[in-house]
Symmetry: C2
Subunit: 150 residues, 2 copies
Amino acid sequence: MQITSRFTIAIHILVAIDYFKDMDRVNSEFLAGSTGVNPVIIRTVISRLREAGILSTQRGSSGANLTRPLSEITFYDIYRAVDSVDEQEGLFHFHEQPHPDCPVGGNIHTALDGKLDDIQHVMEERMKTITVQDVADDVLKAVREKSKEE
Amino acid sequence: MQITSRFTIAIHILVAIDYFKDMDRVNSEFLAGSTGVNPVIIRTVISRLREAGILSTQRGSSGANLTRPLSEITFYDIYRAVDSVDEQEGLFHFHEQPHPDCPVGGNIHTALDGKLDDIQHVMEERMKTITVQDVADDVLKAVREKSKEE
DNA sequence: GATAGTTGTAATATATCACATTACATCTTT
DNA sequence: AAAGATGTAATGTGATATATTACAACTATC
């Protein structure tokens, strides 16, 4: 299994919105071209980012506005915004009907749930330490490296 | 998305094999009852554990033998054994066709891949610190708690 | 050595989900 | 009013997880 590409798409979108903010009309068509993803998917990802308060948009009018700088948008914010992992269900799919009358089956949740939460938690905490600005910086760096080579 | 239940099933199975080792014939039918999972699924999970060298089985003959104590089987070992996350693909599904000629699309992998690997890595490292024995201990504890209550 | 019990595995079915796509109502800008 | 956007519903398609049936291969026991 894999975490949905909505997550990397959202990061890509945010970097692009910032990168091209003064140069182009950054509409869903443009972002679809940059990401190689269908424009409707772009719009739904943007919808989720909007619902999460990360950016704002106007019906009919092109482009999106960030509500805060990229340096204040963490990977965790995006992960939550685009529902990379369902908040209720959790990262691990637990088999659903362990037998309650079996000593193991009847106690496996008690014994295991906390440990699974732990694992998910370290992952999410690490996500909180990385921001979209970190990505934007590295994109810029790479762009400059390439232009040097010519 | 969620990590396949094969992971929790495998942990459940290993705890049960150990717990019942002197009491019952722990065959796939028995484990299917304890987990609430189809016996064929049980056998395929056991197959993977066998391929990973965690236990051995004999065709025709009931039961499985652990090749090492539960205290030496980590969550990471199981995670790898049952292919919870494809080793090639990684935890995050990257959108597949970012546009190479776009400054953002052409550099997003360079900028993002290492960060995604980092996140996956902290999760996997935490998995290495938890063993199936930890679960078995907590199952036993819970069993004893419940028997006290009577 | 015949029988019953078991594992290993292929083949198929079903449900769910991710992503693509079409279509269109709604809104903004010119 | 016309052109260009967004928001979103509806539908299609492919991939994947799990369940299930079926059976060959093997072991233990009577």
